[in-house]
């Protein structure tokens, strides 16, 4: 177990350790990884903890092996997870397509660091927003990504990642960053009975009546996933498949599959929209940030409020699919939106711009990473854009 502080369910741990514990609580029993900073603490915690709970934790020869073995474990009935960062995530994307196409429930944790390439391996960045969404070649994807801002959320949202992966039968990203991963703070682990855990759904019809992929009803979720060795003769492959899993080259079949993969997310935005909103009711200006950048953003908002400037804040928690609707609502209220983020290419701000549909001016406050923004940076920039300089 983790070392406990003060009372039975309170721990003073890093975000990375909280992710490991969240995975265990969610029922994850297969883990494969490859050493990489700043995600290694997750692998190390899991290597120690999984044997205690009867799970398989293994370090494989590379990033590709770890994600593909996680796919294999998922087909074999395990809740499974892999973790990485930076160049490791680039490699993992090759395996991700197999997971998306075969609708495999599993979780990938991306502890973002400053890139491109190896970048500054030990320090924070937020350059993977588009990588996780669009990195797997071929498009037609159904990526779900959730982003925690602190250690408690690292635990709670890891569980949500597993639950959503089962409901939507798709790989889900926990898109975190080095700052959250290495921050040490209080974690409360609730009693197992209080946690909502979604188990793997099993078919209720015999194999002869079961179709592996619900392509005739595109967008279907909460669909069972039989595993190997259960008599269902399941077919999993890299090829475009029919509802049975047989390879096909027909345009009609391909479009059916692509439509289903996309619509199973886009038809269910009601279940996939989750944001934190602060002081938006009377706001004239807004800040939008995610992950580690949420803390300095909220501090800047508080400072501005203390001075009587009406600033509100919004944080995407489920960041893919992007929360277009709440951001549009916010944009209709405020005049200007500042988006602090740890990349210079303006990833989050571009998405905000798109979602705002011209209803508010959107400003990007970027940095290459390594350090998070200080509250004062965000505040100063906010003042600058408010004054219109």
């Amino acid at each position: 177990m983790l070392k406990q502080e003060c009372s039975i369910n309170k721990y003073f741990v890093q975000g990375d350790e909280a992710i490991a514990e969240g995975a265990i609580a969610a029922g994850c029993r297969y883990f494969a990884g490859y050493p990489i900073t700043p995600a290694s603490e997750i692998s190390e915690t899991i290597a120690r903890r999984f044997p205690e709970v009867g799970g398989v934790a293994i370090q494989l020869e590379d990033e590709l092996a770890s994600i593909h073995s996680v796919g294999g474990a998922s087909v074999a009935g395990m809740k499974a997870m892999t973790v990485s960062s930076g160049p490791g995530i680039s490699l993992k994307l090759e395996g991700l397509g197999w997971g998306i196409k075969n609708e495999l429930p599993y979780v990938v944790v991306d502890v973002q660091r400053a890139g491109p390439s190896n970048g500054v391996a030990t320090r924070v960045g937020q350059g993977d927003l588009y990588t996780v969404k669009y990195g797997s070649a071929g498009g037609n994807n159904s990526i779900i990504a959730i982003s925690p801002m602190n250690v408690q959320e690292a635990f709670d949202l890891t569980i949500d990642c597993f639950n959503l992966s089962e409901i939507f039968r798709t790989p889900v990203f926990l898109l975190t960053d080095e700052t959250v991963g290495h921050t040490r703070e209080l974690l409360v682990i609730p009693d197992a009975r209080e946690l909502k855990i979604v188990p793997r759904r099993k078919p209720t019809v015999p194999p002869s009546e079961f179709l592996m992929y619900p392509l005739n009803t595109p967008g279907t979720i909460d669909y069972p996933y039989p595993n190997i060795g259960e008599g269902y003769g399941i077919c999993v492959s890299p090829y475009t498949h029919t509802a049975k899993g047989y390879a096909t080259t027909s345009e009609k079949d391909h479009d059916k599959m692509a439509t289903h993969l996309v619509r199973k997310v886009t038809d269910h935005l009601d279940r996939l929209t989750r944001v934190q909103e602060e002081m938006l009711d009377d706001a004239e200006y807004g800040i939008i940030a995610y992950g580690c950048e949420a803390r300095p953003a909220m501090e800047a908002m508080k400072k501005a409020r203390a001075e009587g400037i009406k600033v509100g804040f919004l944080r995407p928690i489920i960041i893919w699919p992007f929360p277009d609707e709440p951001i549009y609502r916010m944009a209709c209220k405020v005049k200007k939106i500042l988006v602090p983020e740890l990349n210079r290419d303006g990833q989050l701000s571009r998405e905000v711009q798109r979602a705002a549909k011209g209803r508010a001016e959107v400003y990007h406050l970027g940095s290459g990473g390594v350090e998070t923004h200080q509250p004062v940076h965000v505040y100063d920039e906010l003042m600058r854009i408010i004054k219109g300089k």
Binding site: I58, L64, A65, G72, A73, A76, G229, C235, A247
Partner: protein, 287 residues
């Protein structure tokens, strides 16, 4: 290319009827291809060991080896990305150690793009049976050079002749620690069946390479013939049994591929057994 299947009901082999999905027949192999022979040998091995579609999973990679065998088996068929067959099999076997896994891979899949996974599957002694169809070329993609293509061979990407030496997968498998290692030709029918059976029964990683004739690509580009008989004759001329090789000089062995059973270790457990033993030990200590 598709075979003309004829009246399937009447002509189907009893083992195909027992183990293969008839709606997926005829399979995709070109006429004269060696892959079908090895699938046949595999079915005999499965039958003689009384394996069932319920307790045995067929795993594939990408290439002719895999595209032809995918969704043939009546049980579960798990086909990985190109080269990732042993990575996927690692997840499968560690999660469901009670099932048998027969992995169909090709020389490109296993030795080139999947080389690292192959090395480490041997080293971990992952308890699966790997059958590598070696046709000496990239068949499915149109006859490009492979790591197993003979030196000097013309292929679509070596129009001036291959300047690289081929790789000996058997030596690699042995050096990396596989429990069972053998190489045969598709025509060594009895030996292939016996090796697949031994492979399934041996604890740890079993690697059976079968030299399979590919009239469509290797024949056409490298040997300049599409005639399967001539290609089989070429394999006959370029292979020597381990036993015969003992009495031959290095000069005589030049350009020859050795066939036979190279390793059969029964003393070495694999990662799967060791992992689950470790879990049992840790849990009993904590209990």
């Amino acid at each position: 290319m598709k075979n003309q299947g004829g009246d399937l009901e009447k002509t189907i082999h009893p083992l195909a009827a027992k183990y293969l999905r008839q709606e997926r027949m005829p399979h995709m192999a070109c006429p004269g291809c060696g892959i079908g022979q090895v699938v046949h040998s595999t079915l005999i091995a499965c039958d003689e060991l009384a394996l069932t579609p319920e307790n045995t999973v067929w795993v594939q990679g990408v290439g002719c080896s895999s595209r032809i065998t995918y969704t043939l088996w009546k049980g579960d068929n798990i086909d990985a990305h190109h080269g990732r067959i042993f990575a996927v099999a690692t997840g499968l076997k560690l999660s469901r150690p009670d099932l048998n896994y027969i992995c169909f891979t090709g020389d490109g899949d296993c030795m080139s793009i999947g080389g690292n996974h192959f090395l480490h599957a041997c080293r971990r002694n992952l308890d699966v049976t790997a059958i590598m169809f070696n046709n000496g070329i990239y068949g499915m993609t149109g006859g490009q050079v492979a790591p197993t293509t003979p030196m000097g061979a013309m292929t679509t990407t070596t129009p001036y002749g291959n300047i690289e030496d081929p790789m000996d997968s058997v030596q690699v498998a042995m050096a990396a620690g596989a429990s069972y290692v053998a190489r045969w030709r598709s025509t060594d029918f009895r030996q292939v069946v016996s090796s697949i059976k031994k492979g399934i029964q041996t604890k740890g990683f079993s690697f059976i390479e079968v030299l399979t004739q590919c009239p469509t690509q290797f024949g056409r580009y490298v040997l300049k013939t599409g005639d399967p008989i001539k290609i089989l004759q070429w394999y006959k001329d370029h292979t020597v049994t381990l036993k015969k090789a003992e009495k031959m000089t290095p000069e005589e062995l030049k350009d020859k591929m050795l066939i036979g059973e190279f390793a059969h270790r029964t003393d070495r457990t694999g990662v799967v057994e060791r992992y689950w033993d470790m879990i049992k030990k840790i849990q009993s200590e904590r209990a």
